[in-house]
Symmetry: C2
Subunit: 460 residues, 2 copies
Amino acid sequence: MSLYQKIRQQSREFSQRTLDRHLRLGVTGLSGSGKTAFITSLVQQLTHGDLPAHLPFFAVVREKRYLGGQVNQQQRLSVPRFPVEQNLQHLQQQPPVWPPSTRGWSQLSLTLRYKAATGLRARLQSRSELALNIVDYPGEWLLDLPLLNMDYQQWCEFSWRLFRQPHRQAAANDFEQHLRLLNLQDGSELALQHSTEQYKALLQQYHDTPGAYLNQPGRLLVPGELAGAPMLQLFPLLPEQAGEHSALAKKLEQHYKSYCKNVIEPFYQQHFARLDRQIILVDCLSALNHGYAAMQELQQALQLILKSFHYGPSSLLTRLFKPQISKVLFAASKSDHATPEQHKALSLLLQQLLHQPLKLSHYQSAITEVMAIAAIRASTSGYVQADGLAQPCIRGETLGQKSVTYFPGEVPATIPSAEFFNQHKFEFLALQPISWAEHEPLPHVRMDHVLQFMLGDKME
Amino acid sequence: MSLYQKIRQQSREFSQRTLDRHLRLGVTGLSGSGKTAFITSLVQQLTHGDLPAHLPFFAVVREKRYLGGQVNQQQRLSVPRFPVEQNLQHLQQQPPVWPPSTRGWSQLSLTLRYKAATGLRARLQSRSELALNIVDYPGEWLLDLPLLNMDYQQWCEFSWRLFRQPHRQAAANDFEQHLRLLNLQDGSELALQHSTEQYKALLQQYHDTPGAYLNQPGRLLVPGELAGAPMLQLFPLLPEQAGEHSALAKKLEQHYKSYCKNVIEPFYQQHFARLDRQIILVDCLSALNHGYAAMQELQQALQLILKSFHYGPSSLLTRLFKPQISKVLFAASKSDHATPEQHKALSLLLQQLLHQPLKLSHYQSAITEVMAIAAIRASTSGYVQADGLAQPCIRGETLGQKSVTYFPGEVPATIPSAEFFNQHKFEFLALQPISWAEHEPLPHVRMDHVLQFMLGDKME
């Protein structure tokens, strides 16, 4: 090798190292929003879907600069791994079924190879690499953030305002009765444990209640290794009880503080602070199915979630850790459960659900985007002739394995009023994924837009 | 306050601080050995059982120097807490039932107050304190220690020798067939996961098999926050497969190493290394009930557990961490399921089960003791007249709520031979705890001896 060649090679190796990129992408969403399907699809698109016709809006693919992606087998063996292979198997069953959802956090690393389009990298390297880490965690963990800004008394007030909403009221009656009969001077282990069990039963009921999105504290139902820790003996007293400085209220205050310090703060410091970009999935169609109160609570939950991405120089988040999330995508998932011409309305609806916080954009450090997507297609769309007119429709299989062709109804572009919900019932059916054979590109709606927004600028 | 008084008080405060003691006591035992009942009783004896007639061998109580103990309410709120109050409630039910067992680790702190008997402390202080931390963890975690001394291939050989034992053979057939049909060149995620599921099913079957004590790796069935981590995709290939350097064997080797490094070593460094004393509970009577193979495996498991307490200056344990356990008690639990005159034989039997390792006592840094106990009494003992002779018997309630008065049979003082087991079947009945009213001393067998051995020298 000549000296010239040596220098050239060293210089190339040096560039390779310094120009290589890392990106940590958070994916979250409230329970039932399609997080598992989304990550499964994201990985499948990046590893097997790289055909210009399949991902037309993803520039690096369209421009034929994408060289391929693969799941990194060298991921740390002690970190929970997102089970993408197992999930894809579920889609290959006959009939195909949705992969099971998980309740904890997990990770998956991919290496993406591409040719740079322009600039220094294009001149120096024949091949560039982007290391993509996908971090999956429950959206409920973001709903714990507001607890840091409240004290125990305020949390009790917040909780009981929520429990008095129409879709929650009935379920909370028993727990309210239980609290009213409580001896507030009894701060014993047994008393705390007993009431916590009652509250857990209520939370579990809410977890299974359509439209009850906002359940705090986020770890009570899935404690993991925290099981048995006293700080998880935590429930909201009635507001008038919380202010009394009783033995019980004092204990609960301590547990509340400990939960903030030992659960919420470490999550933000260890996981959230290291993310570069974030995707939040929202299932608006289900919320519409479940009526006005569900839509109201979804809006409230989204506004609380947005707080995690609003950090001015003096905000709590900035004081707690150095956030570095530069792009946030809110994706209305399962859009293929409505007909294509309704997608515009769906994304407008999600924009309106997010509206209030977006006005506070001078606090915002991250670019925010909204789109309607389907990570894995559950329907094909087409037209039927009705009264001589072409009427849009979709075709799919219900969860009960019944083939259906139908028009699911219009999606409102704004949040309907309570009166409207009284007169009109939305019924967006839940569908199974459509058939798919291994190694084929996975059918989707707008995953190319997602990829372009999330990764496009890093692969130029 | 005069100068003299000031100096005296300062000196007293100084002594109080410097002479106060901390003791971290580990309590463990294999699944079903009575760990939960033991800790519940230990705490109850130290907080409510301090009558000389109730704990005659516990010197500090007998000498009326014990001022009382209480559960520390200021324990760290983020650490799992041993649920002593809940457990005591189970004993107060009518009819009383055993408290439920737990599968993770937990802690409980007590403050014990006493008058020192002699020495500097007796002269300087009117009252001394001992802070006692009780740490509860599954004995199965100690059974992981030998993995650090083996490589993956050796572990496969060890595991399959074990699975070929008579009480295990039949259950392992399916898994062996599964392994024989395996494509060893397939080291994919899916292949690993599928075989791990098969192995987990086998481990679960063993967990429910009487006499199958030795199940590795200890965290596979209770992964906690490790759920989904690739290192938990771990199972023993057949020995002839493990040596082949196939893609699958290589993956499993990596996972095995990661498990040793990320699970076993941290347990020893973070939990075990900080213990001062250790109690290991052994249910010998159940093992006798389940026959020769069960006794053999119990002996093997105990010998592996003993290795955690054998540390010469150059041992693996000493290199990994600085162990400081100075006393180890092996307690034959549930001794009241036999008549009192059999207790001597029971403790001799346990000594023999431990015999081989005790010969290696020149490696041993800790004082070891063996005794037969019952943490919470399940029977009262007495005599019945039979053929004009007073015959010892016990009286209790079976798990099916039947009152019984009977002679449960003799306990052999040495491990019976295989032939003996062929001709003789041991049948020590399982009994419910006897009735107990709150705040009464909890009836026991030799808990005073346990307390004296574990705490006596620290409360002189």
